[in-house]
Symmetry: C2
Subunit: 210 residues, 2 copies
């Protein structure tokens, strides 16, 4: 099984490589330190599985997953994430990932997950499984996904909010009316399903946007 590792912290890449090389079936053929790199390397190396972190600069793991699956048939994505939040799991599984494991799994479970995903099946770690199933059932009943991706402009606004900018300051730096930023803020809160700035910043942090 050929494997591409994508994580923005190189000591983790080193660690994972050292760990996974102990498994004879696994062969680490490449590494990437952000989403963009992960897509480029996938195109060239056509790995069986990409082990992907979500929180990455340049391009986050969610966008990268979509891009990898769009261009590399046969390549699967296994997500290795810090967080077990419903919305995060749902979002990336909808993007086409084959599995989701938390960073607090042991070596054994990670290797098991890799095999399952490489064989074309889904693997969700215990902590996220039940939540995700409930989520899916609710979706089927209600007939809607509930999730709406942010637009380019909205992401830009999020990043400036994370830098402690006020609406006025954001407007000034983007050469727009404060009322436009106000509209963006409202749409962002609604799309992300959060109540206020605190929820918004948490969301951004968990995706490596700041």
């Amino acid at each position: 099984m050929t494997l591409l590792l994508a994580d923005d912290q190189s000591i983790i890449l080193d660690g994972l490589e050292a760990l996974l090389e102990q498994d004879e079936e696994v062969q680490v053929v490449g590494r990437a330190s952000n989403g963009r790199e992960a897509v480029e390397r996938s195109k060239k190396l056509k790995p069986d599985v990409v082990l992907m972190d979500i929180s990455m600069p340049e391009m986050d793991g969610i966008e990268a997953t979509k891009a990898v699956l769009a261009c590399c048939t046969g390549t699967r994505v296994l997500v290795l994430s810090m967080y077990d939040h419903h919305d995060l799991v749902h979002e990336i599984m909808e993007a086409g990932a084959s599995g989701y494991v938390l960073k607090n799994v042991g070596k054994e479970e990670l290797c098991r997950a890799l095999r399952i995903v490489a064989a074309g099946q889904q693997y969700l770690t215990q902590e996220v499984r039940s939540a995700f199933d409930n989520d899916m059932r609710a979706k089927e009943i209600m007939g809607e996904t509930g999730y709406h991706a942010l637009t380019k402009r909205e992401k830009e606004v999020v990043k400036l909010i994370c830098r402690e900018c006020t609406t006025q300051e954001i407007a000034a730096s983007l050469f727009l009316s404060p009322q436009t930023i106000d509209t963006h803020r409202k749409n962002i809160l609604h799309k992300l399903g959060v109540r206020n700035t605190a929820g918004l910043v948490k969301y951004a942090k968990e995706r490596g946007w700041c």
Copy 2:
């Protein structure tokens, strides 16, 4: 050199262990998945160095560092962190850590840092060095540390703010007056040197408080 690893993500512990065991001088004698555990294990195992993450549940790496150094003479702490923010570096170095390396270092630099710290010297990774030095010089001139730790109550308030609670809701859940929470909020912003809720939540996220 005996080593204790402290990180809340066990796959990272596994990875670091696999990586560092390749170095014959290094011997990993224990692991901890939060600050409290790190202190307990240090007391028992008396390792030469504790390789400590900052973002951990129960007790963060900063408090844990203080506690370890208070009870284990001869044990040094090397911090392994995601962030290169001045305030974070300054805070933990003032707590007594012997070094600070980012998670995007390579294996070689990490091992080098471990040796230097074990020998009783300081090691700061390139990215934080100049910033920290400037910081220290500024402090010497102005004669003040600038940093003020949050109190227990203030941390409690921070956590509730991170859960998207409003001042009113926090007051209700702690059975206090909203004006008290307002005072806490203002003091928190001032102590942390941030402008608003966004900065506050970022701070909390980086320390693993939510």
